[in-house]
């Protein structure tokens, strides 16, 4: 448990408080400022990736109409879109953003355990983004190897950005991992060491559990990507052969020999699959808290939810090769990885049941955050069950590398976590700014985003059933394609452009409400967890008054029978009636 500061509170705060604009907003050590820095950078670079996806959709819906889209540009769009969305937006925003914001506040800590390292973490992340985007300004442009960066193709002629782009991409990833490690050590240590009095592990909100487990996964998984990046840089620059066998590339015999392309795939997915859960687990946690708060009901099966997060985290390390069923690895791996993959469906399904059962016999307030949470569950169920297709090894064979895969992973780890992120921003914006986000704009944004993405991705699965291969610049004349497929692609493109454009409503809402929004007050959603009990809104540097809060109960005491209000903050001591009723939690 946390140890109170040894020096007097006022003195400590003065010592600690920022003294200039630069230390307050740029080189800040306040976890909340760092969270906002992570958030703004991630959303900014995410908008770049959104524009790239719009250009891809233009080409797919209306091929050969646009002079600025040739295969080179198209494959660069694909690669940058994928990498930015997975790493620089989702990972950075969920852990760097929400991890930073929520961990100290929800645990009742004054800040992260290592605020200085936390500050450096953001700036190193920022550097990685700069390096990544710089690849648009070097000869040959960014790499077009696809976000999986599979060698040998990633470093051979015939792939865009083979001179500079790929090196910048790998370098940027290595730098990102340094940033993540500094941040991640902070989240884990803070959760383990700096919880306030009474905040036992099993009283933590599920958001913190999700972030905790995701960070542990990240700390164990990212090193695999780190070594692959370094090894591929060496293959490219000094001609080592870690991943490169002897090849004849575009008619030229190259000096590589004995390396294994499959080794890279194993390393990549040893990182890449846990990465899915690095994104998913914080979203699982956050959405649990959104649902519980806005349904005015405790989360159903809290302990099961915690153990499901832990089980999914552990299992996520033994399923990676389900991305490689048709890679040519030993076929017996198929039996093992299909089994582990389908086992992971059980704890995941339990989470889905518990979210829906939380709605059962609740008192549902259909606020904007709640709408996003509900949309998440529907989208996630769709993305989850299509994952069972692809995880079930033989079913993957006809569907692998088709649009079914594209639809599946966009539903499950693109749209689902994004919906949670939106919900979370609508939910916590009032605490961060003291203002409510505009409700009408929120509703417009929600319905277009939810229905739009569903129209984009649900029919896309059927392109995969037809067999349309993914990562094709143009399908052209293809035996399995008829007019209806072309029409479907056009429809998807139009939906995608509409969804993309409507994100302006969201950005506008963030800006507009900051100046003109309704005052939120300290606890607009009547929530129980600690961040809503801060003495000031937005919370000041150091979060709490002289004394840290004390926690007496779990984070889900909503609609407790016999109580006046339908929520009891975690800081509220137990009443005699409660003790008499024998409730232990």
């Amino acid at each position: 448990m946390a140890v109170e500061a040894q020096i007097p509170y006022q003195e400590a705060m003065e010592l600690h408080d920022p003294h200039s604009w630069i230390t307050k907003y740029w080189f800040s050590q306040d976890h909340k400022v760092i969270a906002i820095q992570y958030g703004i950078t991630a959303i900014g670079v995410g908008l770049v990736a959104l524009v790239l996806s719009g250009m891809m959709r233009l080409q797919l819906g209306f091929p050969d109409q646009f002079d600025f889209i040739d295969p080179e540009a198209y494959y660069q769009f694909i690669t940058m879109h994928g990498m930015i969305m997975v790493i620089y937006l989702l990972t950075a925003l969920l852990l760097g953003g929400f991890g930073n914001l929520l961990v100290p506040l929800m645990c009742g800590a004054r800040d992260m355990v290592f605020p200085y390292v936390n500050m450096i973490s953001y700036h190193v992340y920022f550097l990685s983004v700069i390096i990544l985007l710089a690849s648009y300004f070097v000869p040959g442009g960014p790499t077009g190897a696809g976000w999986t960066l599979y060698p040998p193709q990633a470093i051979l002629t015939g792939t865009p950005g083979v001179d500079w782009g790929i090196l910048l991409m790998l370098g940027s990833l290595a730098v990102f991992i340094v940033a993540f490690t500094m941040g991640g050590l902070n989240y884990v240590t803070t959760i383990l060491q700096a919880r306030t009095r009474g905040m036992t592990l099993m009283r933590m909100p599920l958001s913190v559990w999700g972030i905790f487990m995701a960070t542990v996964l990240g700390l164990l998984a990212f090193p695999a990507l780190f070594v692959s990046a370094i090894m591929m840089i060496l293959d490219k620059t000094i001609g080592t052969s870690f991943f490169m066998p002897a090849v004849v590339s575009i008619g030229d015999s190259l000096d590589y020999s004995g390396g294994s392309p499959l080794l890279f795939q194993h390393l990549f997915w040893f990182f890449g699959h846990p990465e899915v859960y690095i994104v998913a687990l914080p979203a699982f946690g956050i959405v649990s808290d959104l649902i519980s708060t806005h349904a005015r009901k405790n989360i159903f099966g809290y302990r099961m939810m915690v153990w499901a997060i832990v089980a999914i985290g552990v299992l996520s390390f033994v399923v990676w090769a389900h991305h490689m069923y048709v890679s040519g690895m030993h076929p017996w791996f198929g039996f093992f990885f299909a089994t582990t993959t389908l086992i992971i469906a059980v704890p995941t399904a339990i989470k889905v049941y518990n979210w829906t059962l939380t709605l059962w016999r609740a008192n549902i307030h259909l606020t904007v955050p709640m709408l996003f949470a509900i949309a998440f569950v529907i989208t996630f169920v769709m993305g989850g069950i299509t994952g069972l297709f692809l995880g079930n090894v033989i079913v993957d064979v006809p569907l692998s590398d088709t649009y079914f895969v594209v639809a599946h992973f966009h539903m499950v780890m693109g749209v689902s976590p994004i919906l949670v992120i939106f919900g979370a921003i609508y939910h916590w914006y009032p605490k961060m700014t003291g203002k409510m986000l505009n409700d009408t704009l929120g509703h417009i944004h929600f319905w277009v985003t939810f229905l739009g993405t569903y129209i984009i991705y649900y029919p896309m699965h059927y392109l995969g059933f037809v067999g349309v291969p993914r990562r094709y610049f143009a399908n052209g004349e293809m035996a399995i394609i008829d007019e209806s497929v072309i029409m479907l692609n056009q429809t998807i493109t139009i939906a995608a452009l509409i969804v993309g454009v409507f994100q302006i409503v969201f950005i506008w809402n963030l800006i507009y409400s900051y100046f003109k929004g309704r005052d939120a007050g300290p606890n607009p959603w009547k929530a129980t967890s600690l961040e809503w009990q801060t003495p000031e809104t937005p919370p000041r540097h150091g979060n709490w008054a002289e004394k840290l809060p004390t926690v007496y109960r779990w984070a889900y005491d909503y609609s407790v029978p016999g109580m006046k209000d339908d929520f009891i903050p975690q800081t509220e001591p137990r009443t005699a009636e409660e003790t008499a009723a024998g409730r232990t939690e």
């Binding site: 015939g158 792939t159 392309p261 089994t339 389908l342 399904a349 609609s559």
Partner: protein
């Protein structure tokens, strides 16, 4: 209320969409009906789960929507319910996994009577190799690959001599005969994918992968590459033709073996001069080409490309389309070269002629052309010299009006109309990146510029083949 209704529409709409959708698997043409069955089982179990969870949510959202005075229940846990759901889920998962693993077991175990076929992927085309009468494929190695040995056959392995080699064309398979497909790649990852066969597997450089299937329906099927392999990925198509025994045997007999390759007659330029008389009427005494007769310049073009085009004319892949009038003129001329020796002799004679850059007739924006040419450069090389490694002919210093016309023919599928002509088909895809006649002129103007500069300006004799420079001695790992 509205929210519940819209969500209900989403859930039910998904079900309705499934039934109205015209999009489903192609009709199966292999033995892998069991794969379809495993998909079917997974589809139903998952579909039911989706509907139940979706409808339950809609109901809960409607029933327990916020109301004055309503209080939510307080029930942190319900062990019994949680256990029931866990068990039901586990049963569902086992229900999908068990049939899936059983079919996978079939998929990875090749039947004893399967015949081997080797499929070789390279950027961006497919080649095939069948064992000859000995039923055994000869050894291959990347270090043996050259322009004369595109498959990398080990010249010392006797088993290789009768291997049937299929460069670029269609692969024929025998109906109802199980095939074990061995996959290799020369350069990067590829994936041999025929949607109708359901089976699919990556080709990985440095190793041999496999899969098996039995084609069950005669017909022509399109091969797609299903693993991103660079900017030509979408053009990497091929053709599989499933035959009855008679046609199949005839096809196998018609394909050259490795010993045919090795024994290909060396061209005799002196003998070729006589044969060239027919050509000279249109292509000119010096092979310089004649615009008025629509005959392109020949000198300086690589031997393998001229050989492939004469072959294409003879087999009716070129010169048969009704709108290809000049091609139709060429077809009977090609037929006059009645055997391999005649072809080789004429080619040898053409290669002995001096190579002067063709006169430029087309003008355009060279700078824009340079930008457009980046897409061409990967195969045809930055200097426009072409490469047998990508089956791309030389462009620089050749007849520009001919290039411009061919681009149009490719765009209109007049050249490349035959599905088995995989290379021409590839150009039908690539040529579509040139939008409009201006773009074609610009890129051709840039190619003219390439012909004027660099080595073509002073290169009066012969061409260099991409692969010809690679000899056994300087290849990596050679011993």
């Amino acid at each position: 209320m509205t929210t519940a209704i819209i969500l209900l529409i989403v859930v039910l709409g998904s079900v309705v969409f499934n039934y109205l959708s015209p999009w489903w698997f192609t009709e199966i043409a292999s033995n892998w009906g069991n794969i379809d069955f495993a998909v079917f089982v997974t589809f139903w179990i998952c579909g039911i789960a989706f509907i139940l969870v979706g409808l339950f949510m809609v109901w809960a959202i409607w029933k327990y929507r916020r109301r004055e005075g309503q209080q939510a229940a307080y029930e942190p846990e319900n062990k019994r319910l949680e256990w029931i759901l866990t068990i039901v889920t586990t049963i569902g998962v086992v229900g999908m996994l068990a049939p899936g693993l059983i079919v996978w077991e079939e998929y990875v175990h090749v039947p004893d009577d399967a015949r081997e076929v080797e499929i070789i992927g390279q950027q961006w085309s497919w080649s095939y190799r069948l064992p000859g009468e000995d039923g055994r494929l000869g050894l291959v190695d990347v270090r043996f690959m050259s322009v004369d040995n595109p498959f990398g056959m080990d010249p010392d392995d006797p088993y290789g001599a009768d291997d049937v080699l299929v460069e670029r064309g269609a692969l024929h398979l025998l109906k109802d005969q199980p095939v074990k497909v061995l996959l290799r790649s020369k350069d990067v990852l590829h994936d041999f994918y025929v949607p109708e066969f359901r089976a699919k597997m990556d080709a990985v450089p440095g190793m041999v992968t496999y899969m098996w299937f039995t084609p069950t329906k005669t017909g022509i099927y399109e091969v797609l590459c299903a693993e991103l392999c660079g900017i030509g990925h979408h053009t990497m198509r091929g053709t599989v033709i499933v035959d009855e025994a008679e046609e199949y045997e005839a096809w196998v007999a018609s394909r050259p073996t490795w010993s045919d390759y090795a024994a290909r007659p060396a061209g005799d330029a002196v003998a070729g001069q006589a044969g060239y008389v027919v050509c000279a009427a249109c292509h000119g005494q010096q092979g310089e080409g004649m615009f008025a007769l629509h005959a392109p310049k020949l000198t300086g073009q690589s031997a393998w490309y001229m050989r492939a085009q004469i072959d294409a004319y003879k087999r009716g892949l070129r010169g048969t389309h009704p709108e290809d009038e000049y091609g139709q003129q060429m077809a009977p001329m090609a037929a006059t070269l009645f055997d391999a020796a005649a072809v080789e002799n004429v080619i040898a004679y053409i290669q002995s002629l001096p190579d002067e850059p063709a006169v430029a007739t087309i003008e355009g924006d060279v700078e824009r052309g340079a930008d457009l040419y980046r897409g061409c450069a990967v195969c045809h090389r930055a200097d426009g010299s072409g490469s047998s490694g990508t089956f791309a002919p030389r462009l620089a210093g050749m007849s520009d009006w001919y290039l411009a016309r061919q681009i149009v023919l490719f765009q209109q599928h007049i050249r490349g109309h035959d599905r088995t002509d995989t290379l021409a088909r590839q150009m039908t895809f690539m040529s579509k990146q040139l939008h409009g006649q201006d773009a074609i002129n610009d890129v051709v103007a840039y190619i003219n510029e390439l012909g004027r500069q660099g080595r073509f300006a002073s290169n009066a004799h012969g061409t260099r083949d991409g692969l010809a420079a690679v000899t056994h001695a300087d290849a990596p790992g050679a011993e």
